[in-house]
Symmetry: C2
Subunit: 568 residues, 2 copies
């Protein structure tokens, strides 16, 4: 491709408001342009990178035995109603009606669509397992689109769905996909960490994110130094000292203490250890129901864990009005004592086994001390894990947690019977001729975000440094002194020869000065730069420079093939 | 691929209500399944065919210098408002709002999006021409979806848009695209006819359809036997005898004649030649405005031509009520005399030069004779071509028109300044530094419809006969007698060897009987069938049969490469 003919040239100006490196460089390099917030055009060289990522994913997915197919983008909303996701997914789902008022969802994930397809066939145990995947445009009506391709509202996703007769069979596939994804990202030049994560609105019991460590990422997670434990902040577990108080129960007492903020201050004021205090927080769910959650003082509540145990899809702090109504007190004095019956109460495991502990009195300016289960407060049948992990805490396998940020480029989900139990006919005929629900998994990779992640971790202050596996071209051929006919002919010849050999070349044939052309080459980030100039022609050589290196070298055309072989 | 593992096996039953061959065969062969009317899943082998079509289109488009990119699926409706298409396109356009109430259109064609992209760059004459294209899902909220992939509501389209400094430059690209499209369809095994057609809601002055002759098609068009003229029914022109009456003007007269239907009967009744009669039809446009159109008796009105000259986007026959209101008479007596001023009148060229002609009297049961321009009826400044062509009429170049039906697989449009004149900033800087609007063209191919067209013209009573260029696999390897260990080993070996050589093989490894397997092979339609059975193993040979031939032959494995070479 001649650069003069390429649509979408480089620019020195940043995109308005761009803060992330990948956004700036992909914009300036001529890879992307924004249509409206979170919706991007992929320009010709941007699409080339995107397609290389796609091919590599396809190659590895096919190798793993998955079969590519394609489902419609518009999903009948009736399917999402079967699984109660039409409302639970909330605002992120876009809906559209056709001329006959039939309602559709703009696909954001396609579990229901795949189950609906599979149930059009009468499948038996002989047909299982199988894994279907697709590359298709997905829509998420995100509240906030971030700069560039990191968090968008429309993107191409590889989404795959596997169907199994047994949980054991699924587990093999899950492990295979862990391997396959690791290989894919490795080939793309990305080092990924496999992190336990929350399954969000997908359903199922467990799942993992593939995260590229980067300050630009939105995934907050914890790892142990040896990598033996890695979990997203939303689900991270940690060890805590269990309490098993054997104190005698003291008489319950209300103590006045106005305007005391935080458990530390309270502990000091009441002259008790922080562990004796309790943090009670009131929330409202998507329907306005009030939820009270409590942890031992010194710990915090993890709202995602709380949502999972409460089986709700949205959570916000209760309004001042609600707090007053429920506790009959000002904010700051909430406890679990004498709450109205309609308030759902969740206590963390750290509450268990305590005696004589403190709690808000549900009375303005007052705190209750020496609260005891059984006598003052009903002991719940189940204590839950609704605690928030923090850096320095100890992982379940006994090692210190380190906090990290990263970009989630892929994820894999155990779905189990989540969909097959809710959708009629989502079953197979077993060896005994009996219908059985199938066991499912699903697996996603966001292509645009992967592309941005590569830029975030592979660039320098001059521009992008593409790994050759996904670079838009193999070689950036820069012609200098092109008003000299001999040089021009030599440059054109080099372009023709390389192209004939199957090398994909971007040939900068413009009349601009060397500085401009070199800056563009660095910005675009193609692995190998070859210069043809008056000087190189005079010496009968070519000037070759790797994007990753500072120095260039003069080589003869005989030496070139050896160098090109390094492009893999 | 082992057939036992393939998702989406063949079935003997037709899809419910399928009438078209391509629908039946693609369904039965396991290529497609319908989600909701007009929205299809492409199953693994269906997607393989679709991808081969896509690769071939890409190859030829790239060869022609076009650059692939990708635009968002959701188009801000503000762009469609700039060109007045938000309303004019009517019901076929699907709209969707995001959480912030911003309205989008589900892309059906992307002229505005491409212009909006291009105007983000300051382009100059040096950047022109360029041609950008994409493969992306398009949405058309069709009133009626036809069976299978022929007319759907969601499909992948290759749409390309070219930008030029001058009309002359555009014309070169238009011719190049005619060539490119012809090559693409030829490589896909399709013989296409290039037919002048209506530009519908795309805009511009002229365009052409690429049509595959087939009774399953919806495009009605005319060709001359030598192919020197080909035009869609909607736009076909024809020669007609011009009238240049030199009769003296006779006194105008109203003649009673109740219940006389049609111009033939009327001519007989009035004892005048049919050519003296007039056919006047009243229509209403999308806003309810009344339009009167008139042609000489013996001809019919072409509503599409009428819409173009009237610059409206919808047309329907006026209701009885409207006819009565406008003509103050019952239906059947409409003419152009004394119509209310608000009625827009369009007269066909065939009206020109007439004297003493007949016309409905706008009075129940009456016909006016000896009408003359100037005296009784104002002669219009322009007579239009709003006549409908029919089989047997004479083409503009003097040859008889033959009526045909076909499937429109592609189309190319001159857009001219249609978009650049309406969208601000849709311009380039010329050599004098002045801003000029650019000249545009656009070019589309529907991939699914092309796939269906191939099946419509390439099948027999047993199933599909794929051209090898788009067949889902190169070879259908059928293993028989697989309970015999030696045979099974031989079949597995053949499968492994062929795959190693890069031959894409579908290996029927099931235990079914030969009849079932051969019927499936015929139905799926892979070009070459190879059988490994007790018999072939006994003779140390392989049985080879082309899908297009009746007879099979036994060949040695040494002879096989020669045969495989025929797969191109």
């Amino acid at each position: 491709m001649k650069y003069s003919q390429l649509f979408g040239k480089t620019t020195r100006d940043d995109s308005k408001g761009a803060t992330l490196t990948s956004h700036k460089l992909l914009f300036r390099g001529g890879f992307i342009r924004e249509s409206t917030a979170g919706r991007y055009y992929l320009l010709p060289i941007g699409l080339k990178v995107h397609q290389k990522i796609q091919s590599m994913i396809k190659e590895e997915m096919d190798k793993a035995g998955a079969q590519e197919m394609l489902s419609p983008v518009l999903h009948p909303i009736s399917l999402w109603k079967e699984t109660n996701r039409a409302t639970s997914v909330g605002f992120e789902l876009m809906r559209v009606k056709d001329r006959s008022e039939t309602e559709f969802v703009l696909g954001g994930t396609a579990e229901e669509m795949l189950v609906d397809l599979v149930r059009k066939f009468q499948i038996s145990y002989k047909d299982l397992p199988f894994h279907l995947y697709q590359f298709s445009t997905k829509f998420r009506d995100e509240l906030r689109a971030r700069g560039g391709l990191l968090r968008v509202r429309e993107f191409v996703m590889k989404d795959g769905y596997s169907f199994h007769a047994t949980e054991e069979d699924f587990k093999k596939e899950y492990e295979k996909m862990k391997q396959t994804y690791s290989t894919i990202f490795k080939r793309l030049g990305l080092k990924t960490i496999i992190v336990e994560s929350d399954n969000g609105y997908i359903g199922g019991e467990y799942c993992h994110e593939f995260v590229v460590e980067s300050e630009a990422g939105e995934s907050k997670f914890f790892v142990t130094e040896d990598g033996s434990y890695a979990a997203h902040e939303e689900v991270a577990k940690f060890r805590f000292e269990e309490v098993n108080d054997d104190e005698d129960e003291k008489p319950i007492e209300e103590v006045e203490g106005s305007g005391i903020i935080g458990v530390e201050e309270l502990a000091k004021y009441l002259k008790i250890p922080v562990e004796k205090t309790t943090k009670t927080i009131l929330f409202e769910d998507e329907k306005g129901n009030v939820i009270a959650a409590a942890v031992r003082g010194g710990l915090d509540i993890n709202e995602v864990k709380l949502m999972r145990v409460a089986k709700i899809h949205a959570l916000k702090l209760a309004t001042l009005e609600t707090v007053k109504k429920v506790t009959r007190a000002d904010v700051g004095y909430a406890g679990l004592l004498n709450l109205p019956k309609e308030v759902r109460v969740f206590m963390d495991e750290s509450m268990k086994g305590r005696r004589n502990f403190e709690m808000g009195a549900n009375r303005t300016n007052f705190h209750t001390i020496n609260v005891n289960f059984g006598r003052d407060l009903e002991e719940p049948a189940t204590f839950y894990d609704i605690k928030l992990a923090k850096e320095g805490y100890i992982s379940p396998n006994g090692k210190e947690l380190v906090a990290k940020r990263g970009i989630e480029v892929g994820n894999i989900f155990q779905l189990g019977f989540h969909y097959s139990s809710q959708m009629k006919g989502a079953c197979f005929v077993d060896e005994q001729g009996k219908e059985q629900p199938y066991y499912m998994g699903c697996y996603g990779i966001g292509l645009g975000r992967t592309m941005a992640a590569i830029v975030e971790i592979s660039h320098d202050d001059k521009g992008i440094v593409w790994p050759s596996s996904v670079a838009p071209f193999d070689v950036h051929l820069v012609g200098l002194d092109l008003d000299d006919k001999t040089v021009k002919a030599a440059a054109e010849e080099a372009y023709a020869k390389l192209s004939d050999q199957g090398v994909d070349v971007l040939f900068d044939d413009r009349s601009d000065r060397a500085g401009v052309k070199f800056a563009d080459a660095d910005l675009i980030g193609i692995p190998l730069r070859i210069v043809v100039s008056k000087k190189t022609v005079g010496e009968g050589k070519l000037e070759v420079k790797w994007r990753t290196k500072e120095a260039s070298q003069l080589v003869s055309s005989q030496e070139l093939p050896t160098i090109l072989n390094l492009l893999q």
